[in-house]
Each structure stands twice: as structure tokens, then as C-alpha cells.
Amino acid sequence: MTLNRSQLYWVVLLLVIVLALPALAQEKKAEEKQQEGINQGNYNIKQTFEFGYRWSDVTGNRDVFNTMVNLNPGPRVLEYSLEMRSLNHEGWLFDNFFFTNFGYGGDPNNVSRLRMYKNKWYNFSATFRRDRNFWDYNLLANPLNPATPVANAPAGFSPVLVRSPHRMEVSRRMSDVNLTLLPQSRLRFRLGYNRNVSDGPSFTSFHEGTDVLTFQPWKTTVNSYQFGVDFKFLPKTNISYDQFFYYYKGDTSWRNRITDVNTTFLSTGAPVDLGLIFNTAASQPCGVPFNVSPAGTVNPTCNGYLTYRREGRVRTDYPIEQISFQSNYFQNVDLSGRFSYSSSDNDVRGYDEFFQGLVTRTRQRQFGITGPSTSKRVVATADAGVTIHVTNKFRIQDSFRFNNFRIPGLFAFDEVSLFGTSMIVAPNTFTPGPAPPASCLTITSAGCPQHSTSSPADVISAVASRFLGQNTKVNTFDLEYDFTRHFGGRIGYRYRTRRITERLLDTEDLLFFPTLPNRGACAGVALRPDGSCFVTVEEEHAASIRIDEHSGLFGLWARPNDQFRFSFDMELMSADNSFTRISPRQRQQYKSRVNWKPLEWMSFGFALNLLESRNNVTEIFHKQHTRAVGFSWMLEPNSRFALDLGYDYHHVFSQTNICYSLSGTPPPGTSPCPIIISGTSPLQGISIYRTRSHFGYFDMRWQPWQRVTTRLGLALTRATGLTTFLSPDVPPGPLDYGYYKPYGGFEIAIAKGFSWKADWAFYDYGENAVFDPRVGVRGFRGNQVTIAIRNSF
């Protein structure tokens, strides 16, 4: 019998469990070995420094490896920590100081945390985190172009995209600094500063005519400031006031990078981008993209981009005021509350969008859009909570939340377009005046802009206004009773009501030039003396929906002794309406947890989580559930041996009735959609998504000799699934995959405080899909060895 890789890993996991059993015989309490540190001056100082080098060998798809793991070779600061403690608790600058760091030298995640405080004077904490987010998983934006060559294409041209058009390598740096002054006094002050900067190269796509790859140099910055003061002048009562200010800057811009992929040229020699999508049968980018003569040049009547750019600085500021309190002033009553108000202003400055090329559907050869976009978000929130201790065993709790936000927005823009039918012919222009210009004396003149019936207005001046608001009130009422000190329960009721309001009002002044000036919204409108047509169009829509939710809450806990704890929670929700099709009208959640520590050095954990939700009404038939069950087992019989292992099973299922348009062979079980969308009769069918995943792990530490500590572990995930495929071209993605991560290592103590470490980790990811050359291999195997020196005192 031969074992496949997945089975082999499971066998290893089982072996570890079996081999660990003898450790149970050693019923000896773990002896903690604490780092003692050195005393210097008035401080006890502990320091750990671990520096090493990582070797990495990756086979398979490195881009997917970097998307999921991104640990690459090089020297690394694996850990640096410093802890200082004042011996008499009266240090000069601080009493306690903690500073921890890891990941510096090239790892994707670098973190520094600093915390220091001086008894009654101050508490200070600072955190810096950097996350380098590499993304190139070619599925979401994979347009599934044919692997077959495109007729007459130039040498080297391939429509297959082996990399994600939405790939990115964006680094997010997050800094948080907080200072509390006079933390133990009746009047204390809090200051905070947070900064979040994301930047780096990324790509996206833009759709107009075809979809083009667009370079997107990402740059966003947030600076937020906090000032708070706490008053403790009333007995057992704390009142706080906080003022926040948050400022967001979005400086991302977009530009078509014609030369990045598949550079193609017009017969004039001008570079042109035919876009990401190649489906010539459906005229994407057109039926015949390349000329026979001159060979390999682009058909100028095809959808294509000569240039595209878009930029506009986004600035958002949020001042936020907050008052909160907490009180035990009244006997047997706990109170807490919070009120906050914020009003943000969002402003897009200097918006400028420019396109040159050809959109065959509309015959746009060039367009430019400019204009300001502004929006606000006004939020008022009030929270209140009360606990009444009726008896030592009986408590009444109530929690209320009010949240009201409204987001009005406005985009006032001007759009001017030029029209033509070929990228190598300059578009005709029209000059409005008292009479038709000489080049366009009649509305069918060849010197006029070459419109089609689908062409938009030549000049658009529009104001688009939007509004979204939601008013939410939630009240949760609970009765809690402790039957004995080992067993208790609660029962409660939650009511949530929401009113969501949506409004839009669009006003467009449209000016249509010949040819076909009576197209679109100008159909039937009298022409002006110069042959053009002007019309103002308004669109208005308003909707409001109220949703009332009622939830029954129930819970039990049992703690027969200090070593065993059991809990069970249940929530049953029913709503009379839903905002989206997949928002549940009924939801049931059942959660149970068990923690058992039969011995000081051994513990078991068990968790069950069942979530069922439905919007099972006519036309929608949405049902979904997530069922998870897992256990863990941890033991540390002595300081030389520790084992942590567990298993978890997840089952996710969803079904929803969907309608869609499809020209190919429909999947089985489809029927005509009962609600007709204009143009075609779409199909309807139940969209299914189901995955089952098994997760097992163990982490073992063993110290066979005084100077040697070994570590061995494994984390494995095996998932299978199925989903509806509307088209056979759709790649299955990670529905059926295995992700295995065995690791091991040892540490040899060289001298007091010094040790030498060697660690190995293996990352094995594979998708069990039929190989598709358009998608490529998405699996990888990565072997990593890290050698390090660790010094701690």
C-alpha cells in the first residue's frame, strides 16, 4: 500500500499522538525556568537577541508562494527584546520598560512594540508594524483568454496572462503611540497618535471598450490624533472626554502602461494596448485584432488604448468627539455609557481623467472628465449598559445601542468626448456657434464627429447626488441566574431595528453634436440652429427599508470544579425583512466550549460552533451554514517536554437562487429566470458553494539533554469542495487544496546565555485541479532552513 502526501502527513500526526502517550507517565509538574536577567544600577535587565540567516528553496509557483508565505532568504533579526524593571520601583525615567522586535532584515512582517511606565506619572506605549503585502494569485482577475494563438498576431504576442492583472506589492506601515499622564490620579490625560501609510506598486484594470491593465502606484496615508481626559471626582465613577482628529490622504493615481504587457503597434508605429480580454468571437477587443498587412499591426478599428490616466487627490478629515462614563455609584448597579459624534468631509481635489484610443461601441476616440467630488459622513452613536445585581445569584442586564449615520455625496463633473472610427484617423471636431461649422454643414456631413446611435453626448455637464443613511437601535436584555456556584444560565432577548434610506438625484446637461444629434436622450428634441441638440435629463430615486430583528438568547455554563468549564450559547434570530438577498431573515447560532484541565500540566479544549442562516423566500432560496467542531490537547508534564495538538473540521455550505445571462451550454438544473431583464431571457439556477476542510496540527518541544532542545511540528489543512460553474472556462481555484506545513529544529546551548539554533520549515501547497495552461501551476513547495545565534541574559 502506498500513501499519498496527504495521508502521510496524517500518519505522522497520529504517530506523534501515540509517541507522546508515554509522556503521560511522567506526572511531574512543569518547572518553569525563568530568565533571571542582570542587575545594573537600579534596574533588572533582561535581553534577548536572535540573529540568523535563512536559506530558501522554492519550487513551483513563486508568486503564489510570495502571496501566501513571502519568507525569502537573507539575514534576519529574528527577535530582539529588552525588559528593564526598576528594583525599587522608583526608577528615574521609568519603572518598567518592554521593547520587543522581530522580522527585520527583509521579512514581510516587521513589528516593534514598546511599553514603558512610571508608577503614578505616566504609561507610554508605541507600536510599529510593517506588513509587506505581495499579491499575485491569478484567479480573481483572470479573464481566461484562449491558449490558442491569435491570428496574425506579432511574434511573441500571447493573450494568456500568467500573472494576475491585479498584482501588487504594497507595504503598510502602522504606527500607534499612546501616552497616559497621571494614570492613577483623579484627573488623568491621554494622548494618542496613529499613522498608517500604505504605498507600493500595484496594478489594476479599467473598463471602457476593453479592460486595460493600469498601473496603480498605491499611496494612502492616515494621521490620527487623540486627546482625552478622565475625571474621577465622583465616588466610583469615571467620566471621560475624548477628542479625535483623523486625516486621510489618498494619492493613488492610475496610468495605462502600454509597454508592460504584449506591446502592440498600429501601422503608424504608435503603441496601442488591446486590453486584457481576448475573445474575438465576442468582439473582444474586436473580431480581427491584427492586420494581415502590414503584418502583425493592430487593426485600428479595434477597441484599444493609446493613452489613459486618472488622478485625483482624496482628502478626508474626521473630527470626533466622545464622552463616556462608567459608574458603580449606586449600590448593586453597574452603569456604563458612551456618546460620540463625528462629521467627516471627503473631498477629491483636481480630479482629471483622460482617455485616447477607441471604444468601438460608442466610437469615443478621446474623452476627458474633470470635476470635484465631495461627500460627508455624519455619525451619532450612543451606547448604554446597565447591570443590576438583584441578589448574589440573580442579575439583570441591559445594553442599548443607537447608531445613526448619513452619507450625502456629490460629484459634479464635465465630460467632453471626441468621436471617430479609427485609431489612425484624427477625430473630427465640432465647434458650436450660431450656425453649423463649415466642416459639418449638414448633420450627416463626413466632416462631423462620427457618432453611432450608442455614442454618448459630446459634452456632458452633470451633478450626481447620492445619499445613504441608516438608523439603528439595538437593545439586549438578559436575565442571569447562578443556580449554584458551579452552574448558571441566562436567557435574553435582543431587538434590533434598522431603517436604511437611499436617495439619488442626477441632473445632466447633454449636448449632442452631429452626426446623429438626436441620439440617446435627445431623441425627438428640436435641433439648435447650429445643428446640435441640447437636453437636460434628471433621474431621481428614493427608497427606504425598515428591518426589525428579534433574537432569543440562551446560555448555560457549568464549572463543577476549577479544572472543568463548560459553556453553551444559543441565539435564534428572526427578521421581517432583509436588505440584501443574502442577509438572513432567520439565523441560529449554537456555540459550545469545554475546557478541562485534569492535571496541572494537561488540558483539553473542545469547541462546537454551528451557524445556520436563511433568507429562504420565493425567488431567493438562500440558505447557508457553517459548522465547525474541534478539539485541542495540551500537555507539559515537565520542563523538558511539551506537546500541543488538535484537530478541527469545518463544513461550509451555501445555496442561493441566481439569474444570469449565458450564451453557452447552461449548467444542469437551470430554467428561465421568472423576472426578465431587458434584452434577453436569462437563466436561473441554484448557485451552490460547499467546502469541507480538515485541519490537524501538533507542536512538540522536547529537551533530551540539558543543552539540547528540539522542536517538531506540523500544521495541515486539507479541503475539498464544489461550486456551481456557469462556464466550463472558469478555473476551480482553491476549492480542492492541501496546505501542509511541517517544521522542526533544535537549539544547542553553547554557553550560559548563548545558544545555536537551526530550524527547518517546509511549505507545501497544491490545488487538485486539472492543469490548465491558461492558469498555470498554482502550487509550490518551499524548503527553508534558518541558522541563528541566540543570546539571552
Binding site: S578, F579, I658, G679
Partner: protein, 317 residues
């Protein structure tokens, strides 16, 4: 409302009503408890002569004394303003005189073993409840499920010197939340195991006003926007469910088998689940020219700014 829905609502109401009555009856019958409420047994006795001072405790409990000396609780020794009853060992364990006279009789002093969770929490909250971080602990899911302060913290035997935790995050959280552990080992995940994020960055373990003990931003928005700042808006063209239903409509926040932590493996199916015309839901359906067999496999190839846009009502830019 259909007949079956009406029946379900009635059933739910009856179930709740029965449960309330049952619980109240059981409560009144059980142990005949008529003890007036006393949220905690305050450690502070009025007779200050009952306090013997930490140095006296050290005589028998030297190891614990030494541990205490290395922890932030030592600062109570230095705070003479509030009196002896708030200092050192007796600030938590109560007056030690009787315990000492009785030769160390454990029943003569407050110990944290074998007492109710409520009493344990009350002891800690006497000092720690002020401030937003702890002010809702009594109503937290943890407290209601009998999880006490010492389930996560240890005053004398902490393994983490910061916050006196009994284990590091996330292992500490995983010891109960077993079912969440695999999410952070999935191919697409938030980097919690890697140390970039902590569970407590998103959840307030001490409770709050939001469900799932979630934190929020200062502007009372979802906590996701604290890091994903570009998705917060406000936008002229909002994708409404982002703001009304929340990120979890489309994403699984801990980790997912699907790229971008999505709930479905195909973006189009996820979109179509909502964007199908229905009689009573005012959501635009996918237009007829979105032919699913013509290379439109991922809606987000075109609708790139799906979280909200300032310039495009269909989120193209």
C-alpha cells in the same frame, strides 16, 4: 408574512416566554436564595487593625512576594494615599490578620481558588474597571460564560510579563476558541500567527457594546477600517452593503480558502447572489450583456472599486 413564517415567529415567542418563566421559576426555587445583592465581597474591612501588611505575608509566602515585586501590582505598595486596605497582598486577598492568627487557615482569607467567577472579577474590577477597556466586562461574553480574569491572567505565575497573561496571544485565545485556530492557517488569512496582528486588535476581550466583542474605530465604524483605511470612505457612490451590513457579507475576516478572504471561490457567484432581480429587494441586477460565457468571469476586473467610488456609480474607477 407567510403562514409558515407566522408559525415560526409564534413558536419563537413561545419558546422564549417558556424559557423566561422556566428560568425564573428555577431561580426562585433553587437554594431559596434571598440574599440581598452584594456585587462583591470587598476585600476592604473597615477595621484597619486587621491589615498586617505585605511584609508580614512575606514571612510565609516569600515566593509569591518576590513574584509580586516584579509585577505592576507592586505599585499598590507605593500608593499610600488610599490606605492600607488597597496596598500589596491585602488589596486583593483582604485583611490577613485572622488568617495569620489561625496559622494560615485558608478559610480566613480570600483566595481565588474555589470561589465564584463573579467574586474573582469583582476583586479585580475594584481597581481595573475604570476606563473604556474594562468598563463593560460584566456584560461581556466572557464574563457571562464564567470566564474570569484569572482564566487569562495570573498575578503570581504569569508567563507574559506584560499584562500578566498565562500564555502568549494567540495561543491563549486558541485554548478556548479552538475552532478559530484553523482559520489562521488557511492560505489566505490575517497574519495573526505571524505576530503582525493580535486577536485583541480587533476584539475587546473585556467586552464592549458591539456583538462578538468587536472593537470599532473612533468614528464608530467597523474595526476593519482601522487598517484598511482606503475602504472607509465616505464615498460619493457607496456600495451600500459595505456600510449597512458590514465587511463580513462578502469576507471571512479570520481566514479563508478563497483569495481576498472571500466567502466564495468565484467572485461572480458571490456578486450574483445579491445582484439578481427580486420582487421585493431593491438591488440592481446584473444586466443582460454580462454574458457569463464571454470572459466576464470576475466582476472585479471591471468593477474594481467595489467598496465605494467617488467617480463611478458602477465602481469602475
Amino acid at each position: 408574512m407567510t403562514q409558515s413564517q407566522s408559525h415560526r415567529s409564534r413558536f419563537l415567542f413561545l419558546l422564549l416566554a417558556t424559557g423566561v418563566v422556566a428560568l425564573l421559576l428555577a431561580g426562585s426555587l433553587a437554594a431559596g436564595d434571598r440574599t440581598p445583592a452584594k456585587k462583591s465581597v470587598p476585600p476592604q474591612a473597615k477595621d484597619l487593625s486587621q491589615y498586617i501588611g505585605a511584609e508580614t505575608c512575606k514571612g510565609c509566602h516569600e515566593e509569591n512576594f518576590k513574584k509580586l515585586e516584579t509585577t505592576p501590582h507592586w505599585k499598590t505598595m507605593l500608593d499610600t494615599r488610599r490606605g492600607k486596605e488597597w496596598q500589596g497582598c491585602e488589596a486583593c486577598h483582604g485583611p490577613g490578620m485572622e488568617h495569620m492568627i489561625a496559622g494560615g487557615d485558608k478559610s480566613k482569607i480570600f483566595g481565588f481558588k474555589g470561589v465564584t467567577t463573579e467574586k474573582i472579577n469583582a476583586r479585580c474590577l475594584d481597581c481595573h474597571q475604570y476606563g473604556e477597556e474594562h468598563s463593560n466586562f460584566a456584560r461581556s461574553v466572557h464574563a457571562r460564560n464564567n470566564v474570569s480574569c484569572i482564566s487569562c491572567h495570573s498575578i503570581h505565575r504569569a508567563k507574559e510579563s506584560q499584562f500578566l497573561l498565562i500564555a502568549k496571544q494567540p495561543q491563549l485565545c486558541f485554548s478556548c476558541h479552538v475552532e478559530s485556530k484553523p482559520d489562521f492557517s488557511r492560505p489566505f488569512r490575517h497574519r495573526v500567527n505571524e505576530g503582525l496582528l493580535k486577536c485583541t486588535d480587533c476584539h475587546n476581550q473585556h467586552g464592549g457594546f458591539l456583538t462578538k466583542q468587536l472593537r470599532g474605530t473612533a468614528a464608530q465604524d467597523v474595526v476593519c477600517f482601522k487598517c484598511h483605511v482606503d475602504k472607509a470612505g465616505p464615498f460619493t457612490y457607496e456600495h451600500h452593503p459595505v456600510k449597512t451590513e458590514g465587511c463580513m457579507t462578502c469576507h471571512l475576516p479570520h481566514g479563508s480558502a478563497n483569495p481576498r478572504l472571500l466567502r466564495r471561490s468565484q467572485v461572480n457567484l458571490l456578486c450574483l447572489e445579491c445582484h439578481t432581480l427580486s420582487s421585493d429587494i431593491d438591488i440592481p441586477s446584473a444586466p443582460s450583456f454580462h454574458n457569463q460565457s464571454q470572459k466576464y468571469q470576475a466582476c472585479t476586473v471591471c468593477h474594481i472599486n467595489i467598496h465605494g467610488s467617488n467617480q463611478s456609480n458602477v465602481f469602475f474607477k
